[in-house]
């Protein structure tokens, strides 16, 4: 149970950094769609 706040903060940190670097998420989605 003690780990849950840490996991939430890790997820939040990751969301923040993805929002700051949207090109990586867009690049990933583009690659994923081109494979289909």
């Amino acid at each position: 149970m003690r780990a849950i706040p840490v996991i939430v903060r890790m997820a939040w940190g990751l969301i923040k950094v993805i929002l700051a670097n949207p090109q990586y998420l867009l690049g990933y989605l583009k690659r994923r769609n081109s494979k289909k």
Binding site: M1, R2, A3, P5, V6, I7, R9, M10, W12, G13, L14, K16, V17, I18, N21, Y24, L25
Partner: protein, 309 residues
């Protein structure tokens, strides 16, 4: 359904157990002496490949990983903090000495989780408690984001965070929620990812004093997949079998010559132990001859084997 649940519980019990180090079995004394001599030779030749901070392989953007391991294997040989910037973040190479990898476009991020394997080994073996404290505090204050660039590379994941938190607890007595994070040990990794996984499990073993069933399964998987890799053979001996002879035989391989450092004529890519692709493992007989550091031999011997035979 009931049988399934029973099986699940039994599997979890079997996997979550603590596995201590096995008793070492008898080793081939001649083989051990030959490997010991080879490691001494390499240790004496290695400084030619080190820069003013003791770093090796600085033309690559993974220098902090390899140099961190070397500084753990030969304490005092590497000033790892040269790769820590004024913002207290670690970088891939010493700042001010080489172009920063992310800014110069050589890498997609200023740091990666790979680097932290070398950093944590170095901090733990050299008992750098204040630097562990600083790293843990910085990780927590920055939501576990350790640099700039590609998000998938710069965020500490639970496995590394838990390890760092446990180091902080053991060295500084600071308990934290991060110590209670669950860990996941992915099956089927190959190449450099497998290499990193094994180094990470080995450090878990050093810090906690035991490994769990999932970690043990990964060590066994990598040894069975590549018994000729001295890292995997040494990890298998240390935590599973106690039989050091396969690891010593792998280190005795003439791929790493006994009287000189290896070159691209012996195998094409430096740090042979992190590769699975035959084009990296085989000699390059056509290109210019490049001398390798041979540091992987010293690191494996000093960190895993020495003192345990």
């Amino acid at each position: 359904m009931r049988h399934f649940l029973l099986l699940l519980i039994l599997t979890l019990l079997a996997c979550c157990g603590r596995h201590s180090k096995p008793e070492p079995l008898a080793v081939d004394a001649d083989l051990a002496a030959r490997v010991n001599q080879k490691v001494s030779t390499y240790e004496s030749l290695l400084p030619a490949h080190q820069d003013q901070h003791g770093f090796i392989m600085t033309s690559h953007c993974d220098a902090t990983l390899f140099s961190g391991l070397l500084g753990a294997a030969i304490p005092g040989s590497v000033d790892l903090l040269a790769a820590r910037g004024p913002d207290n973040r670690f970088y891939r190479r010493p700042l001010g000495t080489y172009p920063e990898c992310y800014e110069s476009g050589s890498s997609k991020s200023t740091i990666s989780r790979d680097m932290f394997i070398g950093i944590l080994w170095h901090l733990w073996v050299n008992r750098m408690s204040e630097d562990v404290r600083l790293l843990m505090t910085n990780a927590r204050n920055n939501d576990y984001i350790m640099g700039s660039g590609d998000p998938s590379r710069i965020s500490l994941m639970p496995n590394l965070t838990k390890l760092l938190a446990e180091m902080d607890y053991r060295l500084n007595g600071r308990d934290s929620d991060e110590r209670y994070l669950p860990t996941i040990w992915t099956k089927g990794l190959v190449d450099y990812e497998a290499h990193l996984q094994v180094w990470q499990i080995l450090l878990y073993g050093e810090v906690f004093g035991f490994i769990d069933g999932f970690q043990k399964a990964r060590l066994l998987e990598h040894y069975e997949r590549r018994p000729d890799n001295p890292l995997y053979a040494a990890a298998w001996a240390r935590w599973i079998s106690g039989n050091w002879n396969p690891a010593l035989a792998a280190l005795d391989n003439p791929r790493w010559p006994a009287d000189r450092l290896p070159t691209s004529r012996d195998y094409s890519t430096d740090w042979w132990i992190q590769r699975d692709d035959p084009s990296d493992l085989l000699p390059d007989l056509e290109g210019p001859e490049i001398q390798h550091t041979g540091a992987e031999i010293v690191v494996i011997y000093n960190l895993i084997i020495r003192g345990h035979l």
